[in-house]
Symmetry: C2
Subunit: 382 residues, 2 copies
C-alpha cells in the first residue's frame, strides 16, 4: 500500500508543476501558530532574505515589527497575547510585500489579497462570532437577477438561515451593501456574514433572517471571475459612486427577492444597511423609497460633496422621509467620515426618529464593519 501511495504521490508531484508548494519536501513551516497563552507566532523561511518584517493589524498603532532569523533561515515573530478577532497581516521581505506562504487563508479586499487568521479566547468574544461552530448552518447562494432599470442581469449573494430549505416560515430580509470597489462577495468573505448570522441565530440573539448582498457598483454585473471579463477591481476611477443608479434600480432587487424566496413583507420585515459607499446607498435608497425599510443602518457612511454646506445638505437628504423603527449609525472614532455620521444622528434626533449611535475605535476598516453587523443584526426585526 505504502509503495503505491508513494508512487501515486510522485506522479502527482511530477504533474502538478505550478502547485509545488503544497507538495514540497522541505519540512513544513507552521504559520501562524496560535499559542495556548493567546500569543501568535509567525514563521517564514527565506535564508536569502536580508530583512523580513511583519505588518499586521494586531500590532500597536499598526506599525511594522522586525522578524528574527533563526536556524534554517526561518524568520519568526511572536505577538503579545491577543483578543479574539479576525486579524490581517503580511510580510515585508527586503522591502517587498508578500503574503505568508505557509498560510493558505487569504481574503481579497478590492484587488488585494491579504493573509488572515481568526482566533477566539472564549465563546462569545468577537473572534468567536467570525468562526464556524457546530451550530445549524444557513445556505449561501450566488444568484442572478434581472434589473430592467439597469438593463442587465446582475449577481447577488443570498444567505438563507438554517432550516429555510425544509421549512415553511417566511423570513424578514436584511439588504446589506458593500463599499466602493467591492462586490457581492465582500460581505460574505471579508464580512463573515455567514458565520456571524449562523452564530447569532443559534444563540437566539438574532431573528432568523435572509441577508441579501447585492453588487452595489452599477457598471459591474458581478464580482471578478463571474463578470464577462477578467477585470481588476479598483477604487481609482470617477465612477466609484453608484448611489443614484443603485437607488433607482433597488426595486428590481426587492421584487426579485420577494418573488423568489419565502419572504415576510412590509417595513417591519425589511432592513437595509451598508458600509462606506454602501452606507450612503442604504441612506439614499431608504429615503427615496419611503416606508419600505423599517430598519436602516449606516456603517461608516461616506458622503462626498464639494463644500461643508453641501455635505451637510447631503447628509440631511439621506435621512428618511418616514420614521423608521430604528436608524442605527456606526462609525470609528478615527474615521475621516465621522462628521457625516454625527450630522445624520443630530438630524434624526431633531426629527424624533429612534436613532442609535455607536462609536468604536479605529477607522474605515472591515474590523469595524464586522462589529457593526454583529450589533445591528441583533437589533432588527424585534
Amino acid at each position: 500500500m505504502k509503495r503505491i501511495l508513494i508512487l501515486a504521490l510522485s506522479l502527482l508531484i511530477a504533474q502538478i508543476a505550478p502547485a509545488q508548494q503544497a507538495l514540497s519536501f522541505r519540512a513544513p513551516v507552521v504559520s501562524p501558530e496560535i499559542n495556548a497563552d493567546h500569543t501568535v507566532t509567525f514563521r517564514y523561511r527565506n535564508p536569502k532574505a536580508v530583512s523580513v518584517k511583519i505588518s499586521g493589524d494586531f500590532l500597536p498603532d499598526r506599525t511594522v515589527a522586525d522578524m528574527v532569523e533563526g536556524k534554517d533561515g526561518v524568520w519568526t515573530y511572536t505577538t503579545e497575547p491577543l483578543e479574539g478577532e479576525l486579524y490581517l497581516y503580511n510580510f515585508i521581505v527586503d522591502g517587498e510585500r508578500r503574503n505568508d506562504p505557509s498560510n493558505m487563508y487569504m481574503n481579497r479586499d478590492i484587488a488585494t489579497w491579504t493573509s488572515f487568521f481568526t482566533m477566539s479566547t472564549k465563546q462569545g468574544d468577537k473572534g468567536w462570532y467570525y468562526e464556524t461552530h457546530d451550530v445549524p448552518h444557513g445556505t449561501l447562494s450566488k444568484v442572478w437577477y434581472r434589473s430592467n432599470t439597469l438593463g442587465a442581469d446582475r449577481r447577488l449573494t443570498v444567505y438563507t438561515p438554517a432550516g429555510y430549505e425544509k421549512g415553511k416560515d417566511k423570513y424578514p430580509v436584511l439588504y446589506l451593501l458593500h463599499g466602493s470597489g467591492g462586490d457581492e462577495d465582500a460581505w460574505a468573505d471579508l464580512g463573515r456574514t455567514v458565520q456571524i448570522l449562523d452564530n447569532l441565530i443559534a444563540e437566539g440573539k438574532a431573528k432568523p433572517m435572509i441577508v441579501v448582498m447585492p453588487n452595489g457598483v452599477y457598471y459591474n454585473n458581478a464580482a471578478p471571475g463571474y463578470a464577462v471579463n477578467m477585470f481588476q477591481p479598483t477604487m481609482r476611477n470617477s465612477r466609484s459612486d453608484s448611489t443614484v443608479e443603485i437607488e433607482q434600480s433597488f426595486p428590481d432587487i426587492i421584487s426579485f427577492i420577494e418573488s423568489t424566496y419565502r419572504v415576510a413583507k412590509g417595513p417591519k420585515n425589511r432592513a437595509i444597511a451598508g458600509l462606506s459607499m454602501g452606507g450612503r446607498q442604504s441612506c439614499s435608497v431608504s429615503r427615496s423609497h419611503p416606508g419600505t425599510f423599517g430598519y436602516i443602518g449606516m456603517f461608516s457612511g461616506v458622503v462626498l460633496a464639494e463644500t461643508p454646506e453641501a455635505e451637510a445638505a447631503l447628509a440631511r437628504q439621506m435621512a428618511p422621509k418616514v420614521a423608521p423603527s430604528l436608524y442605527w449609525i456606526g462609525v470609528g472614532s478615527a474615521d475621516g467620515v465621522k462628521v457625516n455620521s454625527l450630522k445624520l444622528k443630530e438630524y434624526c434626533e431633531k426629527k424624533g426618529y429612534p436613532v442609535e449611535y455607536y462609536e468604536s475605535d479605529g477607522g474605515h476598516i472591515w474590523r469595524n464593519w464586522r462589529v457593526y453587523l454583529t450589533i445591528f443584526a441583533q437589533k432588527i426585526f424585534k
Copy 2:
C-alpha cells in the same frame, strides 16, 4: 468634488494598512496582458531581484523561462501565441516561488494558491467555456446537509441551472466528486463548473441539470474557512482515501438532494462522476448502489492496491453490477494511473456495457478534468 474624493481616498489609504497594494501610488504594472495576437505578456516589478523566472503550464514541457529586466526594474516575459484555455503560472524570484502581485486572479488547489488567467480565441474554444458570457446564469449554493451515516452536518455545493428559481421543471442531477485533499469548493473554483454548465446549456449542448459537488473527504465537514477549525488541507496523510465512507454515506446526499430540490428521479436522471480519488468514488458508489446511476464518469480515476493483481481486481470491483446507459472514462496519456482506466474499459467491453474511452494529452491535472466535464456533461441525460 475632486478635493473631497482625494481626501476620502487619503483617509482610506491611511487606514487600510495591510491593503497597501491596491492603493499603491507606484504606476501600476499590468500583468498578465493578453495581446491581440494571442501572445501573453507578464510583468513583475522588482528592481532588487537578481533572477526572475516564470513557471507556467503554457510553456513547452512545463519548463521554466527567464524573465528579462527592463527599465524601472520591471521584468517581462511574452509567450508564443496561445490557445484558449485557463492557464496557471507563478514567478520564481531569486529561487522563491511567488504569485503575480499584479494579478488578483488566483485559485486554490488543496493548500496552494496559484495565479491564473483565462483566454479564448473564438467562441466555442476550450477557454471560451471557462469564461462568463452574457448567457442565462445558474445559481451556485453552499448548502449543509445531515449525514446520519457519518454522524455529522456536512457542506456541499449545488449548481441549479438558469430558470430553476422561477420554474416548475424537475431536473436530472450530476453528482460530481473532487480528488484527494480537495473539498466541495474545488469543482466550482478550479473546475469552472458554473461557467461550463451555463455555456453548454445556453448553447443547447447540455441538458439543464443540477450539479451536486459534495465534500468527499469523510473526516472534513467543509472546506477551509467553513470547517470548525482553520485546517490546512493536505494530501500527506494516511486517511486520504475516503472511498468506503463516502460509498456508505452517499444515500444521505441523494436523499437530501431529492427531498430539497425539484429533482427528476431514477437512473436515467442520475449521473455520477469524479476525478482521481473522486473517480474511484464514482465507480465505487455506483457499484455499491446498483441501478442508482444511469451515467458514470471516471476522470483519471486512482486505484490504490499493493500488487498489480490486486489492482486489477479492484478495477473490476469498481465496475457496475447493472449496466449503465453510459460508462465514460477519461484519462491523460501521460497519467500514471492510466492503467486503471484501460482495465476498466476492457472489463466494461467484455460485459457489453456502453463504454466510451477518451484519452487526452498530459497527466493528472485540472486542465484535463475541465475538458472531461465539458465532454461528459454533453453526453448525459439524453
